[in-house]
Point group: D2
Chain length 118, copies 4
């Protein structure tokens, strides 16, 4: 039976933190700070690029970007573990909410935020 990839990562990250006695630092408050710091490192790669350039990264830049995205996923998984949140279940519920909030026929081609619609 295959095991889910997120579960595998979660277990490995939990062991990593425990082996280093780092769980004492991993409060949800602190983990969200670490997560947004990693997210900003991702943003930084794109800040002076055009949108077009952001879709056509060099091999080297692509590699760096992949590692920043990995960091975000890592802290997201850690934070979910500490709060006992099932990320996949939460994402499925949020997608269902978005499907109801943004009916395809109403918002097609329009990126305004939901609260800007009447």
């Amino acid at each position: 039976m295959s095991q889910d990839s997120l579960d595998n990562l979660n277990n490995r990250l939990k062991q990593f933190a425990q082996a280093r006695d780092w769980e004492q630092f991993h409060s949800p408050k602190n983990l969200t700070m670490a997560m947004i710091a990693e997210c900003a490192e991702l943003v930084e790669h794109f800040q002076w690029m055009t949108e077009e350039q952001s879709m056509n990264l060099s091999a080297d830049k692509h590699q760096q970007v992949a590692m920043e995205m990995a960091d975000i996923l890592i802290y997201l998984i850690r934070c979910a573990e500490r709060l006992d949140i099932d990320l996949v279940d939460a994402a499925e519920r949020k997608i269902a909410i978005n499907e109801a909030r943004y009916p395809a026929e109403k918002v097609r081609g329009d990126a305004r935020r939901a609260d800007e619609y009447d």
Copy 2:
């Protein structure tokens, strides 16, 4: 045969964006901005809490936090799709790098950043 949860989410999100003709807005540059905006909404929940309080959320707050984390995962998956990045593979490679950079016996109980070690 079971299919991986991240793959399932990715497919569903891709269809969601295509049905709304929103892929035109989903450049990696734009998606990283959306991702960090969601990440900040998560941070906002914790900004005036103590670390202790952040570990003991009310049921209502827990639910809101789960939805913010879902948003981050959603944009992370969308951004990875647009850049053709395998998130799980990237995370596994990054964890291996971290295991080498932070040997357990050297950093136990110490949260300083790698570049602050001599």
Copy 3:
């Protein structure tokens, strides 16, 4: 007649950008990305600290933190210049709004957000 410190910084930053032909990159969209990236570098200094530790920085850390805060102010001034926004006037108006939203006698010692009050 004394001239205002923010005006002086604004003029110097404008000349800095023009001398390097960097105004082409300084769209408000891009400048907000640069600003949040700098803000995250500030957050990163504090992510594993206790609140107590964050109030008692070493001289070296204090210096680094001051430079990160300088970066945020620099991008804030640049962004305001590009959008023709008077930062001081905006701040004064926002403080007046906050004074009305959060009457001292109602919110004393309570950090909940305005929209959480009934």
Copy 4:
């Protein structure tokens, strides 16, 4: 004799926090979280805009953006006050560093980060 606008804002914000007994929440750690949350609200306004659109805001959007920038300045001033950092002095020192790191004749029209130059 005129008094500096940042000093005026700092005094007013300090009184605002003290009158509400909010200084107990205003550790530098917490204030950086609040600051990045406000910064993300600014980013959110621009995430689906083109760069061109970000330079041509409607009157209503311009007003909202000014209020988000005010929030960032407010938390920046609060954080500097708590850490006893002179923002203007820090910005002047940082600009001098940038002038040395990015000589105009070397970087003209090129937005790569300093560490990407050889």
